[in-house]
């Protein structure tokens, strides 16, 4: 395994992807500040977020230095450790808002294994798909992969973290589709999932059911779950074309929108920067995703290509569900906006995902001189 970056390899770093990542992170810091500058410690949140950003970038440096193929070698271990961590959350986790998602780390704070788990699943599933290259001629050929993500998915579902479990679904579909699964087989699995949903209804916690119901009809519960949707729409809508100006959002100041620095941060983007700002942000995400797809296309091997597809699927799903939630076209599932939402574990995961993409892209087969 080669550690250290060859100069010619380094020259291959995709400047658009790196630049988009950097812009998103800085923009995220600004928005976190905008949403949390009230109270007695106006810098508390943004400082913590910046700290995670720095740590995340430092670790990302190491990720870049190592050939991504060494991650494939450690995939089995990664899978086991990941399962253990997820199980540990259920045993030792700290709950918040009715769910158990965090493991306390004493003075270091706490971390949310389900965030890192997303990346772990992308890497291990890519290895799995690379080891069994197909062709996949029936739905039965897909079952080992279903089992692969099913185990961690169940653990995450038990926390319960519906949103993250759905992210796994998106990663699965994206990677299997790119990996060559037949469309009809994937459709069959999707249909099976849809049929199973009524059964899941009974497993859902009360608050999850309420969230889903109030998504269908926000006026059912204007103070509770529906409240977030209504207030978020008011915030976004009142931004109009140009927005009220950075740091000038009234709904933001009033904290009408719940969780407005984490899951609902996009509502403040919409309010303060308007339609123009919101679309520019979505454009930035599109550039990011497009460069990610390019990394998949130029990857030197199946493993790298599939990791890239998994990461792209993950980010795209996050963006769509999160933004969709703030404008009332998606249910509230507690999925953060990548790079922007406050939350250290998620931010670091996303930065490392970007580093992996850069890694895959710069170690492509044909080195351009």
């Amino acid at each position: 395994m080669s550690v250290g970056i060859d100069r010619r390899v380094a020259r291959n770093i995709d400047p658009f992807l790196a630049g988009a990542t950097l812009l998103l992170c800085v923009f995220g810091l600004v928005m976190v500040y905008s949403t949390t500058r009230y109270g007695l410690h106006p810098l508390m949140f943004v400082r913590s977020q910046a700290l995670h950003l720095v740590v995340g970038v430092l670790v990302a440096g190491f990720i870049l230095a190592v050939d991504y193929r060494s991650f494939a070698a450690g995939a089995r271990w990664l899978y086991v450790v990941n399962l253990l961590l997820l199980a540990a959350v259920l045993v030792a986790g700290r709950s918040s808002l009715g769910a158990q998602r965090w493991i306390p780390l004493g003075p270091l704070g706490q971390f949310q294994p389900s965030e890192f788990a997303k990346l772990a699943i992308v890497i291990t599933l890519a290895r799995h798909l690379a080891d069994r290259p197909g062709p996949y001629t029936s739905v039965r050929d897909l079952l080992p992969f279903l089992a692969h993500i099913g185990l961690p998915m169940i653990l995450i579902f038990k926390q319960p973290d519906l949103g993250t479990a759905l992210v796994y679904g998106a990663i699965f579909v994206g990677m299997l589709y790119a990996g060559g699964a037949r469309r009809r087989d994937l459709a069959l699995l999707g249909a099976a999932g849809a049929v199973a949903t009524p059964l899941l209804w009974r497993v859902f916690k009360e608050y999850q059911r309420r969230r889903l119901l109030s998504f269908l009809d926000p006026s059912l519960d204007p103070r509770g779950a529906g409240y977030g949707i209504i207030q978020s729409k008011i915030a976004v809508g009142s931004g109009m074309l140009w927005g009220k100006g950075l740091f000038a959002g009234t709904q933001n100041v009033l904290q009408f929108v719940p969780e407005h620095h984490t899951d609902f941060i996009f509502s403040v983007v919409g309010e303060e920067l308007g339609f123009i700002g919101a679309v520019l942000l979505l454009l930035l995400f599109y550039i990011w995703v497009a460069r990610g797809v390019r990394a998949a296309a130029v990857a030197r091997d199946r493993f790298g290509a599939l990791v890239a597809v998994g990461i792209v699927s993950m980010i795209a799903f996050h963006v769509f569900v999160n933004v969709g939630m703030t404008v009332g076209i998606m249910p509230i599932t507690g999925i953060p906006l990548p790079f922007i939402s406050y939350g250290g574990s998620a931010l670091m995961t996303m930065i490392w995902a970007a580093a992996l993409l850069l890694n895959i892209g710069m170690r492509r087969q044909k080195i351009l001189f």
Partner: protein, 622 residues
């Protein structure tokens, strides 16, 4: 796999992502540009505000349904942090009107800064004149809101004040502990007594008003109301009439009275004097008043019945007698001679009276110290302590009230540990007559007497008997099981019965004799470290099938027979509906028109009829 297929599929993924983003952009266009004006109007001119509506606390009622604690509407003055432009000036002005320290107002304002759109309550139960002044000066006080909220009202003021407890705003510690149970900042919570123990039942569920408010925070339109759900009704075992008689009987003297059903531990009356005036808590207690209550040497916040620790004096002879009987040291016929003192190792222990020759029954009846010195010495300190513990002394009774005391049952090991001193022979003698290191709560004594009365069961005392929903349905019965049995023989119990009955018929307790009711009891006069002795009388009645235990203790009052016994007598008369003359009762004082008055003459007013617990009084738990 074919490279071409792979790349085609990558393109398809990119197309899907682009489509999703386009969906989002279209939706943003719709919300921000097409409907933007509408949402802007909502956000700037009309703000949706949700104001919590405090739920009225559930009523406390006595066993006949008479209301003991309810609610009355009162004005609460609150401040909306968002609207306050000049905090210092406004705090000064408000402080003057509300009689609050401006620094405290600023502090509360700072607490609320994290949620500037939520009103911060400054003061509850503000007088009408002050509200009028505020409304007149509204222009000078932006952000001030006046709300009408229910405030706790105790119908009989300081009656049973420590038993009911009081209500106050939830503090940080309680909030941290109870947040998961749905408590929120600014909630009222029971801080002591029944209010605390049963808070979960009493508190109800806050409602809310969803309203559109204008930029000044004034309500433009009410969008919806979720009504507050009042708390459940808590039914106490207390009989208001008996309680009132007990309160009056004790009067202004510091002390405690407790009346309890010996069959199931239901508390019929519980008095601790001096008490406090619960009205000082209704608007949020002022720091000065609170410190005054805490520092008052008479300790009005203390529930003496469960938290006091008093030497029981001769009432403790029940324990010493049980030990002696069980160990076979004595029979009812055993003769004693009391010259008026007792010698042990060169020390002389004086006795209250030279009784001469007495048998064991008379030794109990006359409260012969010399006799019990002798029995205690022969039984030994460990046996006496063992029997004291069997009767539940030295440990909390498990009553449904917070912060119960446990008293002290001394033995040589205890003295070694706590005082680092050896046990002396004199310690055994003192313990044997309930002096020295023995400390008990009046409730422990009541439970001990109940155990004698019911044949050896250690009941678990409880103030509350059931919880009822607003529509009168019983949602919980409070009938804690007994904590155990005393484990003394039936013969021992019979002899104790005889002795305690003799106390009243021919001993120190003849003062309680009354026509129409047989009573057994024991006097106690326990020397205090300061002042006159503590006066005790502990009784149960009727002797053959006891339905009530009454214990009275008056601090530094003198002889039990003279000071505590009359209180017990009054309580028994009230509870069993016996007039002073012995004639048929014309009605129990203090409760005209109450359901019990409809019962035939001679029927006990408060005590369930014998042999059929739960038939006379409304719905007493098993």
């Amino acid at each position: 796999m074919d490279r071409d297929i792979f790349e085609r599929r990558l393109s398809a993924i990119l197309v899907v992502v682009a489509a999703m983003l386009i969906v989002l952009v279209v939706r943003l266009w719709q919300v921000q540009v097409v409907q933007g004006d509408y949402y802007l109007k909502l956000s700037e001119e009309n703000r949706l505000r949700v104001t919590p509506v405090a739920a009225p606390r559930g009523a406390l009622v006595d066993r006949q349904g008479r209301t003991l604690a309810a609610n009355r509407p009162a004005f609460t003055v609150a401040l909306l942090p968002l609207e306050v432009r000049r905090p210092a000036a406004e705090a000064a002005a408000l402080g003057k009107i509300l009689g609050m320290d401006p620094a405290e107002i600023l502090l509360r304002l700072a607490d609320g800064r994290d949620r500037p759109f939520e009103p911060v309550r400054l003061r509850r139960d503000v007088p009408k004149e002050v509200i009028a002044a505020i409304e007149e000066g509204q222009l000078d006080l932006p952000g001030v809101l006046v709300e009408v909220e229910p405030v706790r009202q105790y119908v009989y003021r300081s009656l049973a004040a420590q038993i009911f407890g009081y209500v106050g705003e939830i503090n940080d510690q309680e909030l941290r502990r109870l947040r998961s149970a749905g408590y929120e900042l600014g909630d009222l919570i029971g801080k002591d007594g029944v209010e605390q123990t049963y808070d979960a039942y009493i508190r109800g569920k806050n409602g809310e008003i969803q309203a559109e408010v204008d930029a000044q925070g004034r309500v433009v339109r009410t969008l919806g109301t979720v009504p507050a759900v009042p708390g459940n009704t808590v039914v106490l075992g207390m009989d208001l009439t008996v309680q009132q008689v007990a309160e009056a009987g004790l009067g202004g003297r510091p002390g405690a009275v407790v009346a309890m059903d010996p069959r199931d531990g239901t508390i019929i009356a519980m008095v601790s004097h001096p008490a406090f005036d619960p009205d000082v808590f209704s608007g949020g207690i002022k720091a000065g008043v609170w410190n005054g209550l805490l520092k008052d040497p008479d300790r009005p916040l203390l529930d003496r019945v469960i938290q006091g620790a008093y030497p029981p004096g001769s009432v403790f002879k029940v324990v010493t007698a049980s030990a002696a009987l069980q160990l076979g040291l004595v029979t009812p016929e055993t003769g004693f001679y009391s010259p008026g003192y007792y010698n042990l190792g060169g020390w002389t222990f004086h006795e209250w009276k030279a009784l001469g020759h007495v048998n064991f029954i008379d030794a109990i009846a006359q409260s012969c110290d010399a006799c019990f010195y002798q029995l205690a010495q022969r039984a030994g300190p460990n046996a006496v302590a063992d029997y004291a513990r069997r009767y539940g002394l030295g440990a909390p009774t498990g009553v449904d009230l917070p912060n119960e005391g446990d008293g002290v049952v001394p033995d040589p090991r205890w003295k070694e540990r706590v005082w680092k001193q050896p046990w002396f022979g004199g310690d055994t003698l003192n313990t044997g007559i309930g002096q020295g290191y023995v400390l008990t709560t009046p409730l422990q004594i009541a439970r001990m007497m109940a155990a004698v009365a019911n044949g050896g069961t250690l009941v678990t005392p409880h103030v509350v008997t059931e919880i009822r929903s607003l529509d009168g349905k019983v949602i919980a019965r409070i009938a804690p099981p007994p904590s155990g049995r005393v484990n003394v023989s039936r013969e021992t119990m019979a002899i104790l019965h005889t002795g305690l009955a003799a106390v009243v018929t021919r001993g120190t307790g003849t003062g309680v004799l009354m026509p129409g009711l047989t009573v057994a009891g024991k006097t106690g006069t326990a020397e205090a470290s300061h002042g006159k002795p503590y006066a005790w009388f502990a009784a149960y009645a009727p002797v053959d099938q006891p339905r009530l235990v009454v214990v009275a203790m008056v601090e530094n009052a003198g002889f039990g027979a003279e000071n505590a016994l009359p209180v017990v007598k009054l309580v028994l008369q009230a509870a069993f509906g016996i007039g002073e003359s012995g004639a048929a009762p014309s009605g129990t004082p203090g409760a005209p028109g109450a359901p019990a008055q409809a019962q035939p003459a001679k029927a006990p007013a408060a005590i369930p009829r014998q042999g059929a617990p739960g038939t006379a009084a409304p719905k007493v738990g098993q």
